[in-house]
Symmetry: C2
Subunit: 362 residues, 2 copies
């Protein structure tokens, strides 16, 4: 299997053994925020206002194989396609069922999605970023409990622009050192801008580094995003019954920090599934963040696009985008389900086929 074990080898191998040959349910938790529109924060959209359309379009891509809310597929300002393309290709190859869950959206996707009563997030610089957190968390927990009964294990991914900034916000509020350690979709990781944004948010909320260590719900409410309540609740509800592969990059450290504060007893049934681009990223440090509070293993799909015939995909090798829409976790789940029938190279062929189809390329 083309999977890199990026931390905690024994637990990582045990997790991989648990999911080999198994049939998961893939959940993509989506949300939008005003934080994602701060200039220079996110590349999850051709320009800031487009970030409202990226999560619903990613969700449509996963369920329909094409977007309805936008033409083509979501791209960065440089035209690099969404990692949703990777997730869609992996899930399609392995015939893995998909459920979309809304944490809170400005634009609703034109597909079926699980509604949890959440609202879109405000700019975290207000210090009052997310409404209704406790209720969304509880509804997600109930959904996770029921969904766990339908599947061997869950893979949970996310699509929310600006998500690493809100991740830094929540990690800081919970007292986890993550400045300079969260990942970015952009060519130059804007660490200073993220830190300033988080500092402004904490100050506006009357909070400081670590002051909300014992109040994870308030940490999301002040400086988090609406995906987090949905994601954490789903994991907490499901993971006492089945393993959960948390599909994402450094944002997963914020979810794990929340779970560590809310329900640490489920941590033993979790792993992070990301991409090689995150695991090997020199401008971020997922392992360094997690090491401060848990020993959850990190698995990384050993994807390599350097030999792709499309420049839009080759660019992933320069460190742009890296992860999102559960791309890494979906790839790991597809390889775990299909065994020798699929590897990173076959995955790339399928991604190229879908990219060509969707972009009208040859």
């Amino acid at each position: 299997m083309d999977v890199i074990i990026a931390s905690n080898e024994t637990r990582a191998k045990a997790f991989l053994n648990k999911i080999k040959g198994k049939n998961p349910l893939f959940i993509c938790t989506i949300g939008t925020t005003e934080t994602g529109k701060i200039a220079g924060i996110s590349a999850a959209g051709a320009h800031p206002e487009f970030t409202d359309f990226t999560p619903p379009a990613d969700a449509e891509l996963l369920l329909l194989g094409r977007c309805k809310s936008i033409n083509g597929v979501p791209v960065t300002p440089d035209g690099i396609p969404t990692p949703g393309l990777i997730a869609m290709s992996a899930l399609g190859l392995a015939d893995i069922p998909v459920l979309i869950v809304s944490g809170g959206l400005k634009i609703k996707p034109q597909i079926p999605f699980l509604e949890l009563g959440g609202c879109p997030g405000r700019d975290i610089r207000t210090g009052n970023a997310v409404d209704n957190v406790a209720e969304v968390l509880e509804r997600a927990r109930i959904a996770g409990k029921h969904l766990a009964k339908t599947t061997d294990y869950l893979v949970v991914g996310e699509s929310i622009p600006g998500g690493t900034t809100t991740a830094l916000g929540v990690l800081s509020a919970l007292g986890v050192k993550a400045e300079g350690k969260v990942s970015s979709t952009l060519p130059e990781n804007p660490h200073n801008l993220k830190s300033e944004t988080v500092k402004a948010g904490l100050a506006a909320a009357g909070e400081s580094f670590g002051s909300l260590a014992k109040n994870p719900v308030k940490a999301i409410s002040c400086v988090g995003d609406p995906m987090m309540a949905a994601f954490s609740g789903l994991v907490i509800g499901a993971a006492s019954h089945v393993p959960v592969l948390m599909a994402g990059g450094t944002q997963m450290s914020a979810i794990l920090a929340l779970i560590n504060a809310l329900n640490p007893e489920v941590l033993c049934n979790l792993a992070v599934g990301t991409t090689r681009w995150v695991a090997r990223d020199k401008s971020s440090d997922l392992k360094g963040i997690l090491g401060q509070f848990c020993d959850t293993p990190i698995l990384a799909a050993d994807l390599n696009f350097s030999a792709s015939r499309f420049s839009g995909l080759r660019t992933y090798e320069t460190g742009l985008v890296k992860e999102g829409v559960g791309a890494g976790g979906a790839s790991i789940a597809a390889m775990a389900k299909l065994g020798d029938k699929v590897n990173a190279n076959l995955l790339l062929k399928e991604i190229e086929r879908n990219y060509a189809l969707l972009m009208g390329l040859k």
Copy 2:
């Protein structure tokens, strides 16, 4: 197993064999309409305006074991409790996972639910009862296709007040003779009122008996309800992959007539699962409606409340309520899953226990 085979014995037994010992997913499709508020049409609520709260409250009962949108549980004007109590008890006993799907609601339930983009229904006497039918049907089909991959089989039930009147509407539009044959929650089945309501709706739409036989989407749009598009789409999406037990009374004949017009090739993978009260009802004729266009088997949970210690439950034996919220299908699914470990009598004990808890009785 305490299950009555009410029609098509060979196919019914084959279906029962397919689901024995299997793990289903139970889906409750909910919706509200103005049709349900016509005086004398529905008893699914203590008075007409309460019918907006009945489906969300039923949904909460299934997921939480208690209602949030109302105090206590939904009752008829005579105080007879919702059949959701039967479904909740059966599903709980057998540890069957539940998913709520909204076809279109005035009041949203305070639990996770699958959103399909539908709206509440208007009074069918307008001839313009439901918006967005084709889109909801398509989204439900996609959801059904994905959910089928997570389960051995699906049980799909419904909660929508006034549902037998809209069923009569759609059956009539499709050219199926159902006047005097649909069931009722009320002590006296108001057949004349239902027929007049449907005639007014067809006339307002410029349609007549059978004129929409080849246009099932328009039949729902003119004289149907928002639950129908969601329910039919889920069944169509799922039934080419797994068996589907359609949990309900005479409303299921309208869903089957729609499926017969939309995707008849999936009919072979379906059965209706209802209650003895519907199967033995002298004021309605489910078998007589179905016999006109399909040979889908009818199974009926052999529930009997005559020995209950609660008068509210004993009243079910006088022909009130009879069915709803997938009560019959949920009971059949629980017995099929647990085999000898549960029968109708044990189910009644569990229903009584929950009824006492929820109503504060001893």
